[in-house]
């Protein structure tokens, strides 16, 4: 029977072209939707790697500050001490603009044995950064004051970068080159990955660099961890304190939990829009498939009647029609999968192959279910056509 249906479909390939291309397009759209969803889901299930709940970011412009390194150093340590002295503040650190959930990114590359590792997020942070975020060390140690005077520059890398460079081996104590491989940097520790771009994006490669006095002139961000009783009143006090400290400077205080929400929204909203559009497309395609199948059954009443006359039961007629639709779907899916499999093969985007493979399987199941659902009712209807009527009508 299967072979017979293949013949029938092959001989009708021209009539079936529309059906086939509709399914192909739907498959590709659904594949894209599932790829995004799988990617986001995989990232979402990974641990965050840090605590953002009571962290605030204070942003200021530093144009008025002294240019002299020593006076800057004094200014910053005084500021840090005054902040820490406030009972509502638990931890204070300085950081480059690309702290978690901030919109800025800085990336570089590192070299190890001539091999280049691209897209490494480069964070410049002061020693207390780890305490503010409660970052977990997996190996080695975090920055300490003596790192200021060490021979090779000390760096801390995250787990992803460590695995990329060293695999299962140990990284602590190893030297790696900067992007031109001119200077060597010494890995002193490995931290757990932190998802700085929101819940739905991977941590990526990351490298932490100790914020030294040379960088103070570029520092514009203070990150503080506040105590649970820090409220709006405290926030306005803090704001006043900052404006009196940095005269003529614009001060901005942001809560990391809010920054996280808006960061996540940037991912979720387009995805929801995409899913709604895809949903409408699928509804359209479903109606189209349903219509085509319905139309075919009416057009094929003579054939249905004939099959009934020569020995097909009502059930076997509906089985045949559903099977035909599924065979057609299979033909489209074979072509669709050929396109889809190019993504992992050519690694078009920096996304793990597993994402595409899972999305492909899900999309195939989805399309089969869709076609099955659309074919079921017309098929049932065909079974209930009286054989004599069907023959009569040709």
């Amino acid at each position: 029977m299967l072979k017979h249906l293949f013949k029938l479909i092959w001989n009708k390939r021209k009539q079936n072209f529309l059906f086939l291309s509709e399914i192909l397009v739907s498959f590709l759209v659904i594949f894209a939707v599932f790829s995004f969803l799988t990617y986001y889901y995989q990232n979402y299930t990974k641990p965050l790697g840090f605590e953002y709940e009571r962290v605030w970011a204070i942003n200021y412009d530093n144009g008025q500050f002294p240019k002299n390194k020593d006076s800057l150093q004094t200014l910053y340590s005084t500021l840090s001490n005054s902040l820490k002295a406030m009972p509502q503040i638990e931890e204070v650190c300085y950081a480059s603009g690309n702290f978690p959930y901030a919109s800025s990114t800085m990336s570089t590359a590192v070299k190890q044995n001539g091999k280049k590792f691209d897209r490494v997020n480069f964070y410049t942070v002061s020693e207390d950064y780890k305490k503010v975020w409660n970052v977990t060390m997996l190996a080695g140690r975090w920055f300490e004051p003596e790192d200021a005077v060490s021979k090779d520059k000390s760096i801390v890398i995250n787990e992803t970068l460590k695995t990329a460079i060293f695999g299962e081996g140990s990284a602590v104590g190893k030297l790696i080159g900067d992007f031109e491989d001119k200077h060597k940097m010494k890995v002193i520790g490995v931290v757990q990955d932190i998802k700085t771009a929101g819940d739905y994006w991977p941590a990526g490669n990351a490298m932490f660099n100790r914020l030294d006095t040379g960088y103070l002139k570029d520092t514009r961000n203070i990150l503080i961890k506040v105590s649970p009783d820090a409220d709006a009143t405290f926030e306005s006090q803090l704001y006043k304190f900052m404006t009196s400290t940095f005269k003529n400077s614009t001060i901005e205080i942001e809560h990391l939990s809010e920054m996280r929400d808006s960061k996540n929204k940037v991912t979720i909203i387009p995805m929801v829009i995409f899913m709604i559009i895809a949903g409408f497309l699928i509804i359209n395609v479903a109606l189209g498939l349903f219509g085509v199948l319905w139309y075919n059954i009416n057009k094929r009443k003579g054939e249905i009647g004939l099959r009934r006359a020569i020995g097909a039961s009502g059930n076997s007629v509906s089985y045949q029609l559903v099977l035909e639709a599924l065979i057609l779907a299979t033909l489209s899916l074979v072509v669709g999968c050929f396109f889809a499999v190019q993504f992992p093969l050519l690694s078009v985007f920096d996304v793990p192959s597993s994402v595409y493979l899972i999305a492909m399987v899900l999309a195939v199941i989805f399309i089969y279910l869709l076609v099955f659902a659309c074919a079921l009712y017309p098929g049932k209807q065909a079974a209930s056509i009286h054989p004599a009527v069907a023959l009569h009508e040709e």
Binding site: K3, N11, A309, S313, A388
Partner: protein
């Protein structure tokens, strides 16, 4: 072979009720070649459909080959049609998207049979109707007479005991009609197939064993 007892068929639509056939009693013996004649709309096709188990009578009893068919399920009826009956229609009812050979194989698809066996039986059936040289054609590439011969091959491929033919020569000129008639007569004579044929043509009817005339749903002769 076929026993019809007090068969009545009423077609009901929302507005009208048509009594298509009324009180038909008919016994057809094994190996008989029977023709049915009557004016258009008198219920010939309806009667043939009832004999072919394609339609249920509103009243009356039908048995074929000593089997009471009133309690048969849809599935059992389908199997019974497949094994015992062959159909020939005025408008051939070939599937235009299938080649001649595949059209003839169709009834065998609803039985357990191998591809090889199907091909062999279908080729043999086509040889009997003289179409061995048209196996790979599509029905639209054939003449009316050839198409009807394909339909006959399809009807006999499963080796049925009964063939029901509804105006098999209705769409053909007399030469082609005679050819078809020749095939049916030979089938009846050589294989002992019971044949019931509806026709409008007295000449055709005269070549059969017995003629039944219908008028307004009732048997008049």
């Amino acid at each position: 072979m076929i026993h019809l007892q007090n068969i009545e068929k009423v077609y009901r639509t929302d507005t009208v009720e048509t009594l298509a056939i009324n009180g038909i009693n008919l016994n057809i013996a094994k190996g008989e070649f029977l023709s049915i004649m009557g004016p258009s709309g008198c219920g010939k096709s309806t009667l043939l459909n009832i004999m072919g188990l394609l339609d249920e009578p509103s009243k009356g009893k039908i048995s074929i080959d000593e089997q009471d068919l009133s309690r048969f399920s849809d599935q059992q009826l389908a199997k019974f049609r497949n094994q015992k009956l062959g159909f020939i229609f005025q408008s051939y009812h070939l599937i235009n998207d299938l080649r001649v050979l595949d059209n003839v194989e169709l009834p065998l698809l609803y039985r357990t049979s191998s591809t090889k066996e199907r091909k062999m039986l279908a080729s043999a059936a086509l040889e009997k109707v003289g179409l061995s040289n048209r196996l790979k054609h599509f029905p639209t590439q054939l003449s009316g007479g050839q198409r009807q011969r394909v339909a006959i091959a399809r009807a006999i491929v499963g080796n049925p005991q009964i063939i029901l033919a509804d105006e098999p020569t209705g769409n053909l000129d007399s030469a082609m009609g005679n050819e078809i008639m020749e095939i049916l007569i030979n089938l009846n004579r050589n294989e002992g197939t019971t044949i019931v044929m509806v026709t409008h043509d007295e000449n055709m009817a005269n070549k059969t064993h017995r003629l039944v005339r219908l008028f307004d749903g009732s048997q008049v002769q």
